[in-house]
Symmetry: C2
Amino acid sequence: MIPESHPRYESLMTRDKIVEGVKQGITGMQGLIAQGRGEAFDYLIGEKTTPGALHAQRVAAATLLLAKRPVISINGNVAALVPDEIIRLSEAVNAPLEVNLFYRTEARVKAIIRHLRAKGAKNMCTKSDALIPGIEHERAKVDSTGIFIADVVLVPLEDGDRCKALADMGKTVIAIDLNPLSRTAQCAHVTIVDNIVRAIPNITGFAKEYGRSGKDELLKLVEGFDNKKNLADAIHNILKHLSSCELPKP
Amino acid sequence: MIPESHPRYESLMTRDKIVEGVKQGITGMQGLIAQGRGEAFDYLIGEKTTPGALHAQRVAAATLLLAKRPVISINGNVAALVPDEIIRLSEAVNAPLEVNLFYRTEARVKAIIRHLRAKGAKNMCTKSDALIPGIEHERAKVDSTGIFIADVVLVPLEDGDRCKALADMGKTVIAIDLNPLSRTAQCAHVTIVDNIVRAIPNITGFAKEYGRSGKDELLKLVEGFDNKKNLADAIHNILKHLSSCELPKP
């Protein structure tokens, strides 16, 4: 047990959620390592949503609302950290959830589906009858009525290889990745450099706000977005945050 | 199985060592998250030992050689990643190994002791009959003939609270921490901002090189070291590395 007096109590508690996910068979052990990487980058952006990330979240909401067949990809960390929030987003943008794991086992896929259904998820793609081209077999499996034919895919915490393969299929990829230098961040069309715990509820909020907007207004928002500028902005944010640390110059 | 063609194959294999540690009961699940944080910071320094870190490793070797009762603290990540290397360092500087866990369970302490003994460790402190003042009970347990009376403690990957408590006891603390902003990095007297996989063999190499040096020479090296400057240098290194990334200015 971590005492409440520990200065990093909140961060340690979030970790416990992920550890709990592993114990429940939802999160893979490599997911814990990914969580740690995320924590480090979150630390470097000051553990808050930057103005640039907030804008990318607006663009993500608009992109999902404009999509014909949007799908939200779910992995073990998403299922452990934001199960309720991702179901609300799924409902707000009318996009099914599809479980898509880097270290895929059928047992874990089923555990996550059960976990999300228990939380109230109704709109889910649960087949694995199609393959993403150019990816090793187990990792390539997707639903022929879900990610395989989606025009827009939201991938929170995705592997770089698969993000690229989805983009190569002509899909618009929205990624959530705290590392603006990662291949996933670089390959996606809209990269949200933020913690999923903050990002998902924000996107849902914007989707609800934009629900009554005209198509032209949303298109304008999407077309005006420059992901390269967005990523450069995220890197500059880290530089600014690091430079402000109170340490003597060498 | 990760295909060898994966661009991050080597990094993924290191992760597998840590996951294997968890399966063997050596590494705690929170240790996986710590590994991820380390990976992120390693990425930001370019995944190589910087000249500043190399200098801190020289100072660490000299400090350990000058110590009267040096002890090397071992946690689950150290035991999983560099068991052979830490035993060689222990022999080179004549410092016993003492298992010291953040999420302490007697089963895990015993598993690590067995693991290190199987690898050939002979010089170990294995009692838990003393307490570090100011730390919550379970986390405070140490060996009365080891860390408790040590004048110099090498703590690879230590928690900030405990690092501070050791320093408060008047001990010289050498920490290995990839995050130059962490409380551990800031509390230690000599902070090595490097991956333990690279740092431990380097310290051992310097210890062997300095074995024939006079005491005055080592003292000069230690006394000329400024940890605040060292940490500022590490932060500037990250800034330099990030600034050099090929992305357009926002």
